[in-house]
Amino acid sequence: METFVQSIVSGILTGSLYAMIGVGLTVIFGVMRIINMAHGDMVMFGMYGAFLSITFLKVDPFLSIILWIPIAFLIGVFIYRFLLKNIVPAGELNTLLYTAGLSLFIANLVLLVATGDYRTIKLKYAIMPLRPFGIAVPIPLAISFGMAILITVALYWFLVRTDTGRAIRATSQEPEAAALMGVNVDRMAIITFALGTALACGAGVLLAPSLYLYPTVGEILVAKCFVIVVLGGLGSVPGAIAGGLLLGVVESLGAVYVSVPYKDAIGFVIFLLVLLFRPSGLFGVGKS
């Protein structure tokens, strides 16, 4: 029984971070139909940001998120305005490949500059996990989970309660109608991309103490996150969250109760099954 509960708890904790990366990805796709292969590199950027904060600025990585989210937002604006905007008209496939090239570029630039040495963030208060009711809960992961919830709630409030947020959702559902209603579609695209980038970077900052730093770590993560956003329905924020948590739990239970080597396969099989019955994903919205 303890094993079962432990699996679920671990799955939810890990899944929450997948979800946060996924939300950024899905928001970008929903509004702009861009599949951003460089999303993982934004996560990596956040991780290195956290590392820099604690190593050189002596600031706790979780606090440093206040610094890195705005910076990532600006970087997102820059990338969209100067790089991606010209590519989008060329079609979804070309945009995807373009971001793949961008990803290679960024990851290898970081490799050249930071070298490939693996780094981790060691927090003094985080060496041993909490053990509520005998279930091991690693401290950095617990803090990440909490902050991820806060950020997601904030995002939800933004999308539902503010004008800009509603404009973004409108553009995601029907860009032409939104434009007719006076929404500056172009501005929404920039904001959305920057927002997605900032979310990815934030997820990276939160993940850093629980994982390890390496220039290509983003790529491994983002492959999973593509699965999540498609599972949850491209463009749907609740979908990405549900998908992330679901995948986290499925992988965890699958590893413990079915088989460790096949645990990724289990995730993919569930993914395919869901899509067969709900081709637009669990919470699929908009056109496919």
């Binding site: 799955g11 490799l111 693996y118 780094r119 060496i127 091991a136 390890y212 413990v256 460790v260 080597p261």
Partner: protein, 410 residues
């Protein structure tokens, strides 16, 4: 205008393909290594090791009056690229011999090409048994094979009273490296009637071991054996095993991932008392080893471990063969001469004694040109106070072993 531009570029390209390459007057050794991609840190380690060895050898005048040069090519940890760069090194750069490879998958490809193109390949680190068990007469290996790695650990649990595990959980990466070592360890344990309560293969470069460790904890194993070729896997395995509360009498690590300095720097106190059944028996009391340690540290500011030592040693082995070979300047004859010289190699390097021979491995594979001293090279070390120190066998020990692990609450 545009058409002629395209035409010119096409002609330029074709010309490049047709012009032969020129050779310079150095003794060239080729070394495919991963310089980008997930294995990049290791490529960089080997490069540093080769550079140090070259500095020393060339500083003393080189071999037969010529300087030795190591040409490194990036294979990005991809097998087809390993084949491509090996072809390039052999036919374009016209190297006299090859070394390197780093990961077993790429090394098998390199060995296959070297064997077919009749170029000597002295393996420094890759450990898949298959590389020296296919009867390739052009392939030699200095370091132990994967199935030999656990031998020091096997000796320890057999010789020391009370050390035989009452049960064992084994987690290993799903690569040829991980599988070979885990298999070898499990075969031995089964022969001693030790129940294997967990046999978990995990995908290499996994991000999350919590489910695996949850499963292991459920079985409450007496010993936890972890195999990791990747440093990050080694770090996360250990950290998450402890986080999940796995409480064995010993944490035993096998593989490159457990023998690198990062284990101590990244895990801090969590690394204390973790065993590493390693491939290097560098006798710490040997003055040559101590001198090498110091030289390396002075040049690069960190202490060498298994990979650096292997890279350094292999250059010396090749230099020794080059010295004894009659080099006439004719490429095919020179490569054959080097191969003959390697057959009669009998020397000592910082890594240990070297002599290539044919014999049967612990799982029954027939090795060709495998270092006959390999079984002795396996040594059991333990992370203590941030340092990896040999603890068994006693002749190589730098410090007394700590067992059972007192830091684990049972």
């Amino acid at each position: 205008m545009r058409k002629s531009l395209v035409f010119v570029m096409a002609v330029l390209f074709l010309t490049l393909m047709v012009i032969p390459s020129f050779a310079q007057d150095t003794l060239k050794i080729g070394a495919p290594q991963p310089m980008t991609g997930p294995d990049a840190p290791f490529g960089s380690k080997f490069k540093k090791a080769y550079d140090l060895a070259l500095e020393e050898i060339n500083g003393k005048g080189g071999v037969q009056g010529k300087k030795i040069e190591v040409i490194i090519e990036d294979h990005q940890a991809k097998n087809p690229l390993a084949a491509t760069v090996t072809e390039k090194l052999i036919t374009q750069y016209k190297v006299l011999a090859l070394t390197g490879g780093r990961a077993s998958g790429q090394a098998v490809e390199i060995a296959s090409v070297a064997q077919r193109l009749k170029t000597p390949y002295v393996v420094d680190h890759p450990s898949a048994d298959i590389i020296t068990s296919k009867g390739f007469e052009w392939v030699y290996r200095n370091n132990p094979t994967g199935s030999i790695y656990p031998q020091a650990f096997n000796k320890f649990i057999s010789d020391v009273s009370g050390a035989m595990p009452k049960s064992a959980a084994v987690a290993y990466d799903n690569t040829v490296f991980g599988k070979t070592i885990a298999n070898s360890a499990m075969v031995f344990l089964k022969s001693k009637n030790v129940p294997i309560v967990n046999d978990e293969a995990y995908p290499v470069n996994t991000l999350d071991f919590k489910p695996l460790m949850t499963k292991v904890k459920g079985q409450n194993p007496d010993f936890l054996l972890m195999v990791a070729v990747s440093t990050t896997d080694a770090i996360l395995l250990t950290r998450q095993a402890k986080e999940m509360g796995v409480a064995p009498r010993a944490f035993v690590g096998f593989g490159g991932g457990f023998g690198v300095a990062d284990i101590a720097t990244e895990l801090g106190p969590l690394s204390e008392n973790v065993f590493s059944s390693a491939a290097w028996s560098g006798n710490p009391n040997d003055p040559a080893t101590k001198a090498f340690y110091k030289k390396f540290y002075d040049k690069y500011n960190f202490y060498p471990k298994e990979h650096e030592v292997e890279g350094y040693a292999v250059i010396y082995i090749l230099a020794d063969a080059l010295k004894r070979a009659k080099l006439t300047g004719k490429l095919e004859e020179d490569r054959e001469a080097i191969r003959q010289a390697l057959l009669t190699t009998d020397m000592t390097t910082v890594f240990g004694k070297v002599k290539f021979g044919n014999y049967a491995g612990p799982l029954g594979d027939k090795y060709t040109n495998q270092n006959i001293y390999s079984p002795e090279h396996s040594v059991l070390a333990q992370w203590r106070g941030g340092k990896l120190l040999n603890v068994y066998p006693k002749s190589n020990a730098e410090i007394d072993v700590v067992f059972p692990d007192p830091s684990v609450k049972r």
